[in-house]
């Protein structure tokens, strides 16, 4: 006997979302970019408002970086290069995941995380070498605020790398979306840090 329920058309297939993780990561990256660039804009504002003084080469410069503070250029440049390498490792993970190469994907993701940890270590080393005291003035306050925010973002990148690596390690090799989103996030981190490096450590 045919019941009313039997005559009802079956439900359609569940719609698979199209790249939700990539889109969400893109949104977070956009938000993070606005965060860092907004902070850099305020940095510019303060730096431009600081009084002028004669620099070492005789040119007039803004008296923004306190005279007793020295930027450790080797450490900061190394940190910038480290971030670029992290982004390359993230892309290597995508390359390997596309070819369903679980070993290299895992390796690349762990290396990305490890490089992230190295970046954190480098930033802490910069803090130690500079010896700036947070409460000493406007520059120090803003320096720790902006670099500290970047440090937190790098920490989230390391966490992302570890989660992605353990997912692949657990056998989710075909789950390329996470690896792609992970690479995007590291591209964002590298871009944001490069801007910060140029403004805070190079231009000073």
């Amino acid at each position: 006997m045919t019941t009313a329920v039997d005559r009802v058309l079956p439900a359609g297939p569940t719609t698979a979302a199209r790249h939700p993780l990539f889109i969400a990561t893109g949104s977070v990256a956009a938000a993070g970019t606005m965060l860092m660039f907004g902070m850099l804009a305020v940095w510019f504002k303060f730096r431009d408002a600081s009084p002028l003084r004669v620099g070492k080469n005789g040119k007039m410069i803004h008296d923004w970086l306190p005279a007793d503070l020295k930027i450790p250029e080797v450490a900061t440049n190394t940190l910038a290069i480290t971030m670029v390498i992290a982004a390359i490792m993230g892309q290597w993970a995508v390359y390997s995941a596309t070819r369903k190469d679980a070993q290299h994907t895992t390796l690349a993701l762990f290396i990305t995380g490890l490089i992230g940890v190295a970046a954190i270590n480098a930033q802490v080393a910069i803090y130690k070498q500079m010896g700036a005291v947070l409460a000493d003035g406007a520059y120090q306050t803003m320096f720790y605020a902006i670099t500290g925010t970047m440090l937190v973002l790098i920490c989230t990148g390391v966490a992302f790398s570890l989660v992605a690596a353990f997912r692949v390690l657990a056998g989710r090799v075909s789950d390329r979306a996470v690896v792609t989103a992970h690479a995007l996030y590291w591209y964002f981190l590298t871009t944001a840090f490069t801007a910060l490096w140029f403004v805070v450590y190079v231009q000073k």
């Binding site: 977070v28 938000a31 907004g38």
Partner: protein, 501 residues
């Protein structure tokens, strides 16, 4: 495009025999987008009551500018509470809650993308906003006397911003990635489009608030040299609670109006692409707000000076108005139909939309330097218009999508009546502020303003308007709770299907 009402497969639904604790637990751990949206809306209603109460108190204190009824020290906190609650307690969460609840069903998704992230966003926002209120009560906030409470205010505000950001990301990901197969972005309903544009605007502007907030918080906690300590909070963060940033908060409200007009007209929206363009134009305001500067119009100097002043002014303040005008004009075009069948939710939507447009026009006027309105209560009038207007539109949305969200309907007369009364309350509360602004009554001040004109009358009328709006909010809450808890169950959406008027 009609909405689809699919059951969530992710929600920890309470069953009939789960008891009270089980029901509470199911709500607290839910991943059902409708519940998350309703949590946002319900909690925002609570802060709305607080906001309207604060606005009424401030109005009452201003009636007699020579004497003080309340403690003078409270006033700084009350003004700060008014601004903070209007933006981050009412406008953004109301619109975001509606976006979370409605947008997934409109695009044909079973749930919001990253539902746990959206729920985390709600928790961060709810806890953060509670901390903000506690800090304001404890003499914190902008200009607060207690350093620890100012720190608490900044921390609470940071949590609020993070929470709203997290939920906004979920909305963006849902509309962009979880549409029914074959549905182009140009095919999504007007509200979903507005939810996408509004949430994207939040994603792009709230981090700028967060960055400045981090600077201000670190500076306030450690040194208080760079950002003027407690007095710098509003100076550096005030833009996020003022115009044109608030225009971005209410973008979904314009989408609601655009959604309802074709329903009333019983026809397809003519020039539908124009509605999308109009909604998109409002988001141009984000370019102005992230500069963290006021882009006023100083019509003086050489032609180049005038152009330098006019271009950013027009871009960031006039283009958003054009966006709303386009949407309203197309809504009216849709209503030019023989098959019009008025539905109650359209009343508050249309009136609220008008209030939002009035706020935008007022903002454009006050930024013209020769009007001398900057720094007067005219600015407060703009905020009242836009926030109360948004609440009216949200009320219409709750009534319109009530059957979808709760499976029950609000009474037709109550929807239209409260909407109309709320409109009267809004005009009474805000219009006297516009007039008093022309008389140079200073903003954020409760005494010692003396100008030729009936100062007491304007402030008394404004207070009456706030009080009337407070009555409307209480009435709306009572009607909604009663109807959605015990009202008649309905199938589908009778507003759309023609079962209700």
């Amino acid at each position: 495009m009609t909405t689809v009402n699919l059951p969530s497969t992710l929600g920890a639904e309470a069953t009939a025999d789960s008891g009270f604790l089980g029901s509470v637990g199911a709500w607290l751990t839910t991943t059902d987008h409708k519940r998350i949206g309703r949590l946002f809306i319900g909690t925002a209603a609570l802060w709305l009551l607080a906001f309207v109460g604060v606005a009424s108190l401030l109005g009452f204190e201003r009636i007699d500018s020579k004497t003080l009824t309340f403690n003078e020290g409270m006033m700084t906190q009350l003004f700060a509470a008014s601004k903070t609650l209007a933006s981050f307690g009412v406008m953004v969460p109301l619109m975001l809650g509606l976006s979370l609840a409605i947008a997934p069903t409109q695009v044909g998704s079973r749930s919001v993308m990253f539902a746990r992230n959206a729920m985390l966003g709600f928790y961060l926002w709810a806890i953060g906003s509670a901390l903000v209120v506690v800090s304001l009560i404890g003499n914190g906030g902008p200009g607060g006397g207690s350093a620890q409470m100012v720190d608490l205010y900044l921390m609470g505000l940071a949590l609020v911003v993070l929470g709203l950001l997290a939920s906004a990301v979920s909305v963006v990901a849902t509309v962009l990635s979880a549409r029914t197969a074959g549905t182009d972005l140009a095919d999504v309903p007007s509200f979903s489009w507005a939810a996408l544009i509004g949430s994207s605007s939040l994603v792009l502007t709230l981090p700028v608030t967060l960055g400045t907030l981090i600077y201000v918080a670190v500076d306030h906690h450690y040194t208080r040299v760079a950002f003027d300590g407690n007095m710098g909070v509003i100076k550096w963060l005030g833009w996020s609670m003022s115009q044109p940033q608030t225009f971005l908060y209410v973008i979904p409200a314009v989408g609601i109006l655009a959604e309802l007009a074709p329903v009333v007209a019983r026809r397809k929206q003519p020039l539908r692409g124009g509605v999308f363009v109009g909604v998109g134009l409002i988001s141009v305001a984000l370019l102005g707000s992230v500069t963290q500067n006021v882009h006023g119009l100083a019509w003086s100097g050489s032609l180049i000076d005038k152009a330098k002043s006019f271009v950013p002014y027009a871009l960031f303040n006039l283009l958003p108005i054009l966006g709303v005008v386009v949407v309203l004009a197309l809504a009216l075009l849709a209503l030019k139909s023989d098959s019009i069948k008025m539905i109650a939710p359209f009343v508050p939507a249309f009136l609220g939309g008008g209030m939002i447009l009035t706020a935008m026009l007022g903002n454009a006027l006050q930024l013209i330097s020769s009007t001398n309105l900057s720094g007067t209560v005219f600015e407060e009038g703009v905020l009242v218009y836009i926030s109360y207007g948004t609440v009216l539109v949200a009320w219409s949305a709750i009534a319109f999508w009530g059957p979808t969200l709760w499976g029950r309907m609000l009474p037709t007369k109550a929807v239209a009546g409260i909407g109309a009364l709320g409109f009267v309350g809004t005009v009474l509360a805000a219009l006297p502020m516009y007039i008093a602004g022309f008389a140079d009554q200073q903003a954020d001040s409760i005494q010692d303003f003396d100008y030729s004109g009936p100062a007491s009358l304007w402030n008394a009328v404004s207070t009456a308007g706030h009080a009337l709006f407070a009555v409307c909010v209480v009435a709306a809450t009572v009607v909604a709770v009663k109807s959605f808890a015990r009202g008649e169950r309905v199938a589908g959406n009778p507003w759309i299907d023609g079962g209700a008027q």
